[in-house]
Symmetry: C2
Subunit: 317 residues, 2 copies
């Protein structure tokens, strides 16, 4: 028996057949087209049928379908309120997917689904209450309480990158200033790295990017630290401080069993988490003297979209 995970993005729509352990046994993708959403989902119906057929999986072996989608989703209602990537507005995704598959469907915001995927099938499967922070272009978030996704009573919760850490600080796309994501995203780390490099022309980080500052990425400062570069160390230390402060905030709010770090920066693995834990342990109140939260690296990586979507139905069906 299998679940289907549908990962709807602005560029492609991926579908995967996922077994009960969270393993993708087959997957396919189609391009996202500029179609009315109903028509697009009809195409997903065909995509699903083809995927099942070509892998010899009977339709009756499919238990249920989960779908993750960018934008403002109301999971309870099954509705995509608005997705700027897809240009969908007030679209009943659940109903339409149920029509083309004949299976029960659950939908969620894709970042939320990825978080649940980590808790059901990934890094945090031994934990129940988990906060996920995805460190990429921005800082994405997910909240899972007792193995269930928290999405807010009307959806659109868990914008964990948008709490103000530095009042009056860097302007944020959300309209406020000094949001956590302006200091803890991969984008922020790149900014901090560039700023430091411009102040230290002798930093080894210049070699790492072949003298071209535009080649700085979220790995540059960490690589520099591994080469024992003093400026790189300072950049990483500053970044960990920002990230650590945000994590302490979420510890004080939720005291979760675990914090899962995802996104590009999470590729640093234990090199990153060891530093984070060391920072957190400075604080008796927020971390050391209170129920501790494990700090984990997300493990689903590129499978997070499909497996996360499948996890939306894995506990219920």
């Amino acid at each position: 028996m299998y679940y289907l995970g549908v990962d709807i993005g602005g560029t492609t729509i991926k579908v995967g057949i996922v077994d009960k352990t969270g393993k993708i046994i087959a997957s396919s993708f189609i391009k996202t087209e500029k179609l009315p959403p109903e028509k697009q989902i009809e195409k997903v119906g065909v995509q699903i049928k083809n995927l099942l057929d070509s892998n010899g999986v009977k339709n009756s072996a499919v238990i249920a379908v989960g779908a993750g989608c960018p934008g403002a989703i109301n999971g309870k209602m099954g509705i995509v309120g608005y997705s700027s990537n897809l240009k969908w507005t007030n679209f009943n995704l659940r109903e339409n997917l149920e029509k083309v598959t004949g299976k029960p469907v659950r939908i969620a915001n894709d970042a939320d689904a990825a978080c649940l995927g980590e808790v059901i099938f990934g890094s945090a499967k031994n934990y129940n209450t988990v906060i996920m922070l995805t460190l990429g272009t921005g800082v994405g978030g997910g909240i899972v309480i007792d193995k269930k996704l928290y999405e807010g009573p009307n959806g659109m919760s868990s914008e964990l990158g948008h709490i103000v850490m530095k009042k009056g600080g860097i302007p944020c796309g959300c309209g406020r200033r000094g949001c956590f994501e302006k200091y803890a995203s991969a984008t922020a780390l790149v900014r901090l790295t560039k700023e430091k490099m411009l102040k230290d022309k002798n930093s080894k980080m210049w070699e790492l990017v072949g003298g071209d500052i535009e080649k700085v990425n979220g790995k540059t400062a960490f690589d520099g630290e591994r080469l024992n570069d003093k400026s790189a160390k300072k950049v990483v230390s500053k970044y960990i401080e920002y990230l650590g402060e945000g994590i302490l905030d979420y510890c004080n709010i939720f005291r979760p069993d675990a914090i899962v770090i995802g996104g590009g920066i999470s590729n640093e693995g234990e090199f990153l988490t060891n530093k984070i834990v060391k920072y957190l342990e400075k604080y008796e109140y927020g971390y050391k003297g209170t129920p501790k939260s494990a700090v984990l690296i997300a493990t689903l990586k590129n499978d997070a979209g499909i497996v996360g979507a499948a996890s939306l139905v894995a506990e219920e069906f």
Copy 2:
């Protein structure tokens, strides 16, 4: 049929007989003594018996007992991990209260219980998912999701005053700097008021405190604004900005049905909430363009301890 609400404080222990609508029909208090906690709870047993007897309520009319207690509480286990007010450590409050009452008991941190009280019986009874901010000496917090208290998997969550709003800002008792409560508590408002008064010797706020700056309280700036005092208006506006930013943070995290404001500052009523809503409505992303949260004033006031405690058992029994 009734609930009993037990409000355990460092100075007094209050017990109330609470009906199914959340009304206290009778209550009594005893002094908190320096006793081993087991002995103290035996005395509460006597207090309960006397209260029931003197009000002609039969023991069989009591359904269940809820108890709120300051400190680090593990509600699931029924244990007071540590309470600095009471000097209790790892005390099984639930078991001991069950022994002396013969009724099912649920316990929680007192601030958490007060929040649940507002949702079950108070200002937020028409709402399911609610964040409460208590603006007093510090900023206390409570989280209720779908009419259930969120306490963290091992308790000690919901320290909503301890998120960093101004990194590197005012040192906080928790060990970090720039916590929300340093800018949004009544204490913070008093500080802002005094600072402004010292800069404006002509402010009407001086008359309000009879020329004695030590008489400034959380009402002074609001009273000054009502007298149209320019400096008072600036103080209030600054305070609302801090408070509003914190509320926007919690909107972005939870998108709750409602935010309930409690504590001394909440006595300002709609004069306060109107200002907060006006501030929140500036922000499309955090408030206006997303599912809106109602902003309410806590209504249980002095009954919050007993009624909040009773609310811990009101949904289950």
